[in-house]
């Protein structure tokens, strides 16, 4: 049994149980991607997973479940106060969402299901699952469901400074936030040069899938996950405020920021081939586009 504050909108809403359930799952997944993907995007973690024995993987899985259980108990990804065994069930769901997210990421990057043994898949998922499942489990706090840049507080400084209802100024502000989010992540990844190893590991033919997953996840984070006034965002009249246009534009901005940072740190230069530049930019844009989405939600 679980309880909700009296007078709060009931969730799941009567007659909309399935869509609300889907909404909670997508919110959890989006939060898991936001927190976990930068961690997953380190090749040392992949190699550590490769060397894992299956029993070690099970131990890590159990450890991740305990961590997730604690996070679900205090924060969670569903509305309402969950009690008793429901908390244990929610933690299992968070863990399962993390497994699905990791299977999608590793599959798109050609790191499982592409001739690798099952033990490799289990090892990599086990090593990477804790940050992703924790991300799922703290979805309610990562970005509050009802707080929104599309519906800011009356005293919100950014809203007052920018004139929140001015569509063009808002659009510029959001694009700048996307660039800032992408830059924040690029500055964490590019200097350590994990990207060179990841570039060597990911098959070239998988790069279009990486682009598609980047677009799908960033769309889910901003428009389909129930974060931050999603309904109002869908009907906001800004210049790039159609979901498709905003998602693609933010992705292109993340890609541009990636190229700049790669060039600044000497990872690409005038002698780099087009294929090398394309490969590095697309792979780096995968986590950077998620950070860009987080940046848009954070302002």
């Amino acid at each position: 049994m679980f309880v909700e504050p009296r007078g709060a909108p009931t969730r799941p809403r009567p007659g909309r149980e399935w869509s609300d359930e889907f909404d909670d799952a997508v919110r959890g997944l989006a939060s898991g991607f936001l927190i976990g993907i930068p961690v997953v995007f380190t090749v040392d973690l992949w190699w550590l997973g490769d060397q894992n024995q299956p029993l070690d993987s099970l131990t890590l899985l159990a450890f991740s479940y305990v961590l997730t259980l604690a996070a679900v108990y205090w924060i969670g990804f569903r509305r309402g106060l969950r009690r008793g065994w429901l908390v244990f069930g929610d933690a299992i769901e968070a863990l399962a969402l993390a497994v699905l997210a990791l299977v999608a990421v590793f599959w798109v990057l050609g790191q499982i299901g592409d001739g690798q043994a099952p033990s490799i898949a289990v090892g990599r998922i086990a090593v990477a699952i804790a940050p992703v499942s924790l991300g799922v489990a703290i979805a309610n706090h990562l970005l509050a469901r009802d707080a929104s840049r599309a519906d800011p507080d009356a005293g919100d400084a950014a809203a007052m400074r920018l004139g929140w209802h001015d569509g063009w100024r808002r659009t510029r502000f959001e694009l700048a936030a996307s660039a800032a989010g992408a830059l924040f992540l690029c500055l964490a990844i590019v200097p350590v040069d994990d990207l060179a190893a990841i570039t060597a590991e990911v098959p070239f033919r998988n790069l279009p899938l990486v682009i598609l997953l980047s677009l799908l996840v960033t769309y889910s984070v901003v428009f389909a996950a129930g974060f931050a006034g999603e309904t109002r965002r869908h009907r906001t009249p800004g210049l790039l405020q159609t979901p498709f246009a905003e998602t693609v534009t933010a992705y292109l901005i993340a890609l541009f920021v990636c190229l700049i940072v790669l060039w600044l740190f000497g990872r690409i230069d005038g002698e780099s081939t087009v294929i090398e530049i394309y490969t590095k930019a697309v792979l780096l844009a995968f986590p950077a586009s998620m950070a860009a989405a987080a940046g848009r939600l954070a302002v």
Binding site: P12, D50, N52, S119
Partner: protein, 133 residues
Amino acid sequence: MTGRAARRKSLAEWVTLSLSLLVVGALIVVALVEESRRQDGDGPPLQVTFDTEHATARGESFYVPYTVVNTGSEAISSAEIWIDVYDGERVVESAEINVQFLPLQGKQDGTFVTTQDPAAHALRSRIESLQFP
């Protein structure tokens, strides 16, 4: 429960929980099957196979694809393998290859370059050393 409303779990939530149990259960089953397979493994730790049928000649060199598979019961952090090219019972060429980070049942593809025609010679491998994580 003053000020609060209580309700039961919906069918949708039951379905989600069931699917989640299925996903996590599948991961656990795969790990247990892999552990069982690992404990049963008692063959040589590495297996090297040469694909001489797909060897190509460029100039005076022959490029022979090979695959190294970790068939042992532990992941290998690095391995040194010697490849000998035999003309009858006589070794006419030798070279060393290094393999790094080979997980359980993991495989590493590569190409061995030799000046001897693989169609007329035998290629054999021997393990020089292994390192474990």
